[in-house]
Structure formats: C-alpha cells, structure tokens
Symmetry: D2
Amino acid sequence: MKKLVGTSVVGASGYSGAELLRFLLRHRGARIDRLFANASAGKTLADLYPDFRGRLEKTFEPYSLEAALESDCVFLALPSGEAMTIAPKLIERGKTVIDLGGDFRLRDVAQYEKFYKRKHAAPNLLPLAVYGLAEWNAEKIKSAKLVANPGCYPTSALLPLLPLLKERLIEPTNIVIVAMSGVSGAGRKADIDLSFAEVSDSVKAYRVGEHQHLPEIKQTLEDLTGQKVSLSFVPHLIPTTRGIYATIHATLAQGATSEKIFAAFERYYREKPFVRYLRDRIPELKGVLRLNFCDIGFRTFDETNQLILCSAIDNLVKGAAGQAVQNFNLIFGFDETESLP
Amino acid sequence: MKKLVGTSVVGASGYSGAELLRFLLRHRGARIDRLFANASAGKTLADLYPDFRGRLEKTFEPYSLEAALESDCVFLALPSGEAMTIAPKLIERGKTVIDLGGDFRLRDVAQYEKFYKRKHAAPNLLPLAVYGLAEWNAEKIKSAKLVANPGCYPTSALLPLLPLLKERLIEPTNIVIVAMSGVSGAGRKADIDLSFAEVSDSVKAYRVGEHQHLPEIKQTLEDLTGQKVSLSFVPHLIPTTRGIYATIHATLAQGATSEKIFAAFERYYREKPFVRYLRDRIPELKGVLRLNFCDIGFRTFDETNQLILCSAIDNLVKGAAGQAVQNFNLIFGFDETESLP
Amino acid sequence: MKKLVGTSVVGASGYSGAELLRFLLRHRGARIDRLFANASAGKTLADLYPDFRGRLEKTFEPYSLEAALESDCVFLALPSGEAMTIAPKLIERGKTVIDLGGDFRLRDVAQYEKFYKRKHAAPNLLPLAVYGLAEWNAEKIKSAKLVANPGCYPTSALLPLLPLLKERLIEPTNIVIVAMSGVSGAGRKADIDLSFAEVSDSVKAYRVGEHQHLPEIKQTLEDLTGQKVSLSFVPHLIPTTRGIYATIHATLAQGATSEKIFAAFERYYREKPFVRYLRDRIPELKGVLRLNFCDIGFRTFDETNQLILCSAIDNLVKGAAGQAVQNFNLIFGFDETESLP
Amino acid sequence: MKKLVGTSVVGASGYSGAELLRFLLRHRGARIDRLFANASAGKTLADLYPDFRGRLEKTFEPYSLEAALESDCVFLALPSGEAMTIAPKLIERGKTVIDLGGDFRLRDVAQYEKFYKRKHAAPNLLPLAVYGLAEWNAEKIKSAKLVANPGCYPTSALLPLLPLLKERLIEPTNIVIVAMSGVSGAGRKADIDLSFAEVSDSVKAYRVGEHQHLPEIKQTLEDLTGQKVSLSFVPHLIPTTRGIYATIHATLAQGATSEKIFAAFERYYREKPFVRYLRDRIPELKGVLRLNFCDIGFRTFDETNQLILCSAIDNLVKGAAGQAVQNFNLIFGFDETESLP
C-alpha cells in the first residue's frame, strides 16, 4: 500500500466532521493529523462523541494554518461562510481542500449572496472549485485542488433526476421536489428549534422556496444536462436524527416509459458502487442509514404523464462525509469505496 | 341543557375509538353507553389506555345489535370493510350512524372496489351517506342518518384546496399532494411494519398513486367545486405517532394573487372555529396535536406561477374523532365546538 | 360562580409556564392577565406555542412589578435563582405567589446553597413558604401566601413513599430511587445536550448523587413522617419529551405485607382525586401524560424483604403546572380538580 | 489467512440474526452459507433489511439440518425454546453451535423451567454448554462445542459487578439493578406492545422480579466469584430501538474506596478490548451504539457506603451478535476483535 495521505479536519466537532473521522479512522490510506474546532478547543473527541473513546484519542485545537499545512488534504466541515476565509491560503500553499459546506458550490456570486445572505470572501476561487458529485464529475474531481462537496438535499435530488433529464425522459420544467430531513442536517448547535422537545412529535416545512440548496440543484441540473430547468423545492424537518428522503414529481416526456427510465439508471449507474436503483420498490430511509448509498425507486402514471421518484440518503454520509471520502479516494488514487461501508 | 344523547362506539379499542371516548367523556350532552370491540372483549378500557383509569371505567364487549340499539347515535371506528356490514341494520332501526372508516365515502361502487379491493356489502346505503366535512357540508350533515366521516389525508388536503378551486384561483389540474402521517393512522394492530424498531429512524412513501384516499380527495373536490380535477397524492409514514402534514403544489390561475388567496380563506373560514389560516407563516404539526384544528399556510411564486400550501391536522382528531364529534354536534343540535378543545 | 381571580405568569414562555396557561385558559374561576418572559418579550404566545393560536392571543412582556400587581395570584415559572429576587416584593404587596421553581423548597439555606450552588437572596421568606404537595399539605396550603410547588422528581418519589413511611411499613434507610425523565424537565432552552440529535437514541444518568431534588425528597420525607431517612437518587435523561417514571426499592419493615401496603395507599389516597394506586399492575408513563395523576404500582418480595414501587407522573402537569393549579384551587376556594383533566 | 470458516445463521431474519450477518459480512475469516428463517422463507435478506441490498444478496430458507451441516459453525438466533430442539443434532454431528438465546444459559433445569415457563428439551446438553462471557470465560470458550451467549441485560450487569465482587469490594447482598432497554431486545415480531404508537412517549417496568435474566445474573455472579449473591433486577422498556443502560446500587465492603474500585477494573479489563471503564464520568448510551463495547462508570458515596455503577451496551452487539462473533473468534483462532467495530 502506498504511503499514508495526511488529513486534517476543520470543524471536526460537528456532526459531519465527526462522521468523516469515523471513515478516515478505518481508511487504509489516510492518516488523521489534526482536529480543528475553535469552540470545542481543549475538549477531546471522545468528550463530544463517546463512541471514539479508545479508538481515536485526539483533542480539538483552534484552527491554525501552520498546523493544517502538515496535512496533504484538509477537509472543511464548517458552517457556510467560514470555509471561504480558510480555503484560499490552503490552496495557495498547494493543499487539497475538500469543503463540505456551501461556500464554493454556486458558480454565480450573485446567487451565493442572494441565498446565503452574505458577501463572498473568495470569489476568485469559484472557477477553480469542482462540484464533487462523484458519480457525474469523477474526471474533474481527480485533478481538483478544491472540491465543493454537494449539499445533502441536492445529492438526494440530483442522482435520481440527472439520468432522466440527460436522456430527455422527463420535461425540464415543473419538477417538484418535496424532501424531509433529519435534524443533524442543521449541524451540532445550541438552538431551541433543534431541541428534542420541539422537534419530536412535530413536522414543518421551512425556507419554502428560498432554501440555499434550490439554486444548487438548478445549477447542477442545467450544467450537466444543458437544459434550462424550472423546479420547486420544499424541505421539511422531521423527527429523526439522520437521513434525507426526497419525493419528486416530474412530467414524462413524449415516449418515456418505465422501461426506458430503468434503462437510463442502468446506463449511468450500473458501474457505480453507491447508487442502488430499484424496480417496483420504493426505498425506505432505514436502508441507507450510516451507508454511502443513494437508493432510488420510481413509478410512472400514464394517465397523467407523471413520474414519481423517491430517493433516500444518509445526510451525514452520502450527503456529506461519505461523499467527501469518495472524492478523497478519487483524488488520491484509492479505490472509490475505500473505508466506505 | 337538553337530555343526554346516548352514544356507543363500535371499534372502541382502536386509536380513533379511544380518542372519540376522550371527547365524549367531557361532552355535556352525550352519554356513553357501550364500548364494542370484539378482539378486546372482556378487557377494560383502562387496560388498553391507562389514561382512562378512574375516569371512564368500562369494559369492551363483543358487538351486538341489540345492545347498540340502546343508543341514539352509534359511532363506527372500524377497519374499512366492517362498517358496511353493521351500518344497514342500525340505519333500518332509525339510529344515527357516524362512520369513521372508508366504507361510505366513495359514491361510486366501482371506485370503492378498485381502491379498497373488496366488494361493497351495502351499496344501497351509498346514496344516503353524507360526506362529513363539517366546514363544507354542514346543512346536509344536520339531517343525515349516515355520516361518512372524511379520511385523515383527505381532510388535510380538502380544507386548503376547496376555497381556492371554488374561487378559481388555482388550476384544477396538476395538483401535487405530498403528505406525511404518524403511525396511529394505520390503526392499533400487531404489525411488524408499525413496530417501533421499524418506524423509528425511518421514512417511506407507500401505496404511491394507489392509496384509497386518492379517489376520495378527487371526488370531493369535483363534487364541491364542479370542476374536473387531476391530482397526484403520495403519502409517507414518518416516525411520529399522531398527525398529518400535507405540502401541496398547485398552479396559480390567471390573476391569482397572494391577497386573493388569503381573501378566499377568509370568505370560507372566517366563521369556522376549526380552520386557522395563516398569512406569512408555515404551520407546524405540533400546533394542532390533540386539537381539532386544521392549520393552513401558503406561499405564492410568481416566476413559476406556483402556489405552495402546507396544512397540518391531528389525524386522530380533525382527521377522525374530533371531526366525528363535530358532526355529532351538528346533527344533535349542540354547539359545533362542544367538547372539542 | 364567584368573581374571577386575576393571575399572571412570570416565565410564561417556558414549558411549565405554557402548560400552566393551558390549564388557566379553561379554568372557570381564573382570569389570565399578563405573560411575563424577558427573553421572549414582544413575541406572541402563539409564536412559541402554535397550539394557542386563536385560543389565547397574548404577547410576552418584560417583567414589571407594577404590571404583576394587577393580579391576585402570580405564578413564577422561572429557572431556579430568579424567583427569589421577584417573590419578596410581591409578597410584601399582599399577592399570593406560587413558585414552580426550587428557590423556596429547602428550609435550610445551607442546603440550598450547596445543591443550587448560589447564595439565597431571600432567606427570610423561607419560613413563610409552604411546600405545595397538595395531597399532604392541603391545610397549610389553603392559607399560604407563598407556595413552593414541589419538584417533578420529588413528586414522583414522595407520593408513593410517604404513606408507607408514615405507617412504618418500610425501613427509612437504604431507599433507592432510580428515575427517568423526559427532556422538557430541563426547560425550554438552547442547549446542545438537549438537542434532538443528542437526546434521541441515548440515555444517561446525570448529577448522580448530587441532584438538587435529593435534599428536597429527604427533607419532605423527614418532615412529614418524623423519621431520619437515608436514600439514594439517580435521575436519568431518556428520549422522550414529557414524564417521569420512578422505580423505587425499599426494605419492608417487620410485618409489612402487600395487603398492608395497599391499605396504606387506600387510607391516604382514597379521597384524593389525583393519585391512582394499582394492585397487581405496574404503571406506564403513557397513562399519565397531559394529566394531573400520579400512578403508583408495587410488588413485594418476601425472600429478600424488598418492596419495589413504580410511579409515573407528567413532569409538566403533576410535576409542575397541574400541581400549581391544584394549589391555586386550594388557596382560592375552587374545587381541587377545577380545570385539571 | 487461513481458510474460511463456514457459518450459517438460524433465525437470520430477527434483529440479532441480521446484526450478526452485518459482522460476518466483513469478517475476513468467515463465509456466510445459509440464512434460515422459517417465517420469512422465500424472502430475501434485503426485503427485510434494505441496507443489505447489493451487499449480501441471500434468500431466507426454512431450517434443514442437512443444509446446516454444510457449515462449520451454526449460530442460533432464535426465540427461547427453539434452540434446544435444533442444537442437539448439530452438536452430535460435530458442529460448533453458538446460541444467542436463553436455552443453554441456566445450568439448573428447574430454574429454566420456572423462569422460561416450559420444559427443557435437551437437559443433557446443559453440562456441555459454556457461558460465553468472553472477558471471563475465554479459556473454556476456546474449546467449546456449544456456547450459551449471555443475555443482554446480564452482560450489562455482569461486566461491572464481577471484578468488584471478585475483589470483595462490594457486599454480595442487596445489589439493586435497574435497567432500561430499547425495544429491539424483544425481537422482531408483530406485537401491539412493541408498536411505535405504544412505545413512543412511554416507559414501563416489566416482569418486575420475574424476568428470566434474573437467575442468569445470579448464577454467573455466584459461579465466577464463589459467593452467595442476592439481588433485585427491574428491567424497563424505553422509547429507543437499541441499547441497554443499567444503573446498579451496591454496598461498599469495608475498606473499599474509589481507587480500589478503579484498580479492580484495571486488573480485569486493561487488556480487554471491549470494556471501557471511566473514571469520573458516567457513560451515555450513544457511546456504544453499533459497537461491541461495554462502557462502565461509577461513583462512591462514603456517608451511605454506597456504590453506584452505570453501564451501557448495545443490546444487539455486545448484548448479542457482537459477543457471539467475539466467541466465534475465540473458538476459531481469529483475533478477538476481527470484524467487530
């Protein structure tokens, strides 16, 4: 086996950061160097995540560029708005940066500023960033210095939609994405709205029509299929910790059939280890928890020309840390599935 | 106060039946006579629902027509398929029947047999049945002998859609209803798929495009608005016990605006005690739990001509027992809100 | 009916405060005047608790003595440490104060300062405070100006233990109380440890041997039975929102039998509307949720001379707001059960 | 690496059976032959547990001795009462049997029949069975033909208690074990009492003083420490899927100190990979989920001579499948940690 690739995680105390460490810990080609987490500096990883006790005994430290430079690859698992202040210097010094946040996903600064409601601090890096949807962008990812790891909702919507749009089996307009997410998607933070007493026994739609993942989905569909797309996206918070479940309505294109849809999935995903498409079976969220899979199922309705797609991912794995490791594997020449369950 | 109306509940051991008893217990005009529940016969209500201990000490008994005839009004809270064998004799003997199940909701026997997958045992009663959507059918309900209490999903979809279709503010085609339900909607039964270990931490869409509430929604929208309607309905099971949350997409009709939509809700619901429509606020499921409210919120999107409606009800209350009591109140001349929180 | 008693709630935005408002709202002898909540001032009650929408439309305001003086009775539903700064002036001005927090429960200032880890700001009020365990202290409560409403854990432990200690049916030493609480017991606050992702799927014991409810239980057992008591108390946080379940081990005194134990419960609680003691049946938490009951069950083991008691309450009702209303009813001459389900 | 050991699982459709397959799937020395599950015969593993889709595509089949004889080691993951009818013929034919159920744990047939409420079908095998508590019985396990894998509750109680009793740091009498379990402990079955609507938002103690794990704990403590032990054990069902949390009270022996207790844990467990004992820290259930660890924490109270121990395990891992694999590893000469996270 080749020599170990040094890795550090900035924002290691969050849910995505900790999940990333769970994968890196069993990665046969990675070495874990530093855990940066300003607010938890001085605490151990096991203080926050007791499952690590005896398995990875490390202490969080405040971020320092110098320390980060020890590693070959730096993962940024930060709230949006922070990565763009840290990434430039790392890139400049030749490091590979995989950003799990949203700072480098939108090519258009104006869109970023509209949906993220802040100025972009490193717009010059945007042209450099490669969108890390591994099943569709593998070649570009392999030589990337800065990977914008896809958002969790976008991953759950893009993987089922892309083959069908690409093959012109659905209309590019009037796509309706209704998605449900567990609370870990909001990150590890003190917030009454995320408390057990508030979340449990409830459901709510939020940021209806203005969620920052909406332009990300639109941009990627358009970029990768060359069509102008119009869609609606309504995320919901449901009482569970992990996972995203998306139910998508689209209009079948002339001549599209159930068989052709299945064939499209076969064409694009037969060789892909992490997409499981099902015939005659609607996925369940529990089938993907703690795994790097995206499960896809669908049904067509001829009378109304409608297609209903359902997809499921673990937001912290395929929707964040697992996909980040998949990108890491592509960049550093490991098997795409290394360390991923 | 007038003399007490005698009531009995058939299927009193189920979740809807027990919920009904919670309301009847504090109803100032109702007397609780008999609790029928074949499978739980001999057990007490408190054996199954310990909250009743010391408040309503009654024992379940097997159904008997004779015993049921003691009451003025018989509530049927049975799995679909059973009410249609029990209702005819009660009606014949002059009793008022309020059926919380699906047997008398579809006017068209063929539709019933297609979606419920069984023959209808009492098709001659169908013309007699009044659909018990209290906010829309109050006059007919007042003189009904057989009320078909609406399904839980239909209630959550009909209340937001009816005023808008009626006022031609949305197109009658391409309506997309995505709804999430707690597990109590499936009834109280031994079923691995409803077990805590299976439901918790998961989500799944089910009966995609073939749920028996689909024709009920369609029929009622068409009956009450006189338009031909096409819609999609995808129900989901989420890890919670009570409640339904529906997110509905519709296309705005020419000239429809946010103001007009709000005005439509005002027109139809201002005087209605159990519909709360919100301006600039998306409802949360927890706001309606154990209450007889339907909460409605919405947003319009001019660029795409789209309307997004969200609604929330407690499936056991406004979606079952509460609405049944509302109908009971209408029929027997009580205040519509009597005993309803 | 007598003229309405004016009430205000300080700390009305917390879970106990809101629960109190749910009871006061249907209390036929109470008027709700002011909702004080500094941190939520300006928000409406329905903003935080959407179930109140259309039922109690009030806005939180910062606490002001002047405004509070409008009411006859002021409920304090504050984190410990705050009531003792507010109560003195209210008492001075002749108001009745019912404190749901811990500031006035311990008679011994040193104990307070040890377990609550702060100085007591109003030690002179301690002799005035009446411990509001309604089933045991009703006479004193009726003429109290300051009621120290019992803690949630103490209520769950005291109600089963008091009759048995009083009747010398168990030894006063070596009592072991292991209790589990839902997260609402910790109050409504932004705290990572209370977040859904942390609480769900986990359990932990906390403040083992040093919880502030330990001296409260000990003091009350000793005060009301005249015996020196030694006990252990271990609270646990479990993944649920409401409720306390306590499993208590005690040593049977010479001659104690299952019959005598049941007789003791009968003697003290037969006439009490809110204690349900069960023979041959272990209580379940769900039997008391949203109700003001304390359910008690037990088993004796002759070989080991052991008694196992299990008790269940809703921490926000019998363990807080419900018991507060019970005390309010005693003081103002209402039926003890008024407004309590 | 040595040649693969063939394994089959009887009762492969249950939660413990499926968990076992998750470990065997990544075991570098095991081959998975047959999945026996009478009630699910004909279904695939992925039908019941969608996480296996694409990872282990096998179909359940009815149990047949012939088919089972293909394997070197047969795991029995059956409801109690079934293993004792299957094990004898397998043992006779020279197979190694690891039974995850309770049929071979109690040496005394009378105790078995009292607590399991049925006759024992293979009492002659009892002397042969080795109790599979790997940390304490490794030598005997290595040469066992029939391993009685410990119960989940017993594992959580025995690991903290054994070193202390062995070192005479606690009294052997008056030990009080209060434990909480997730619902998966009851197995995968259609049972109203295990349904989401019943379990969620509730807690209850059950089989107080008569649970079949009580004699198992007592027997093992006595066998391994040579002392007569008296104890109480009260299990509780809490609203979570996995895990056991035990809070244990014991009386400190003369001269016992916190240091000596910690030293005892060090003596017995320093070299053991799956026991993590903590100083000054109470374990949390989430720290052991999906892991094979038993976490132990404790506090001593000098005034009352009391020791409070808290322990946490995943009932399906260290309390069932993980410990079974640990035993498998010991018997077949693999590293004790092979395939265990």
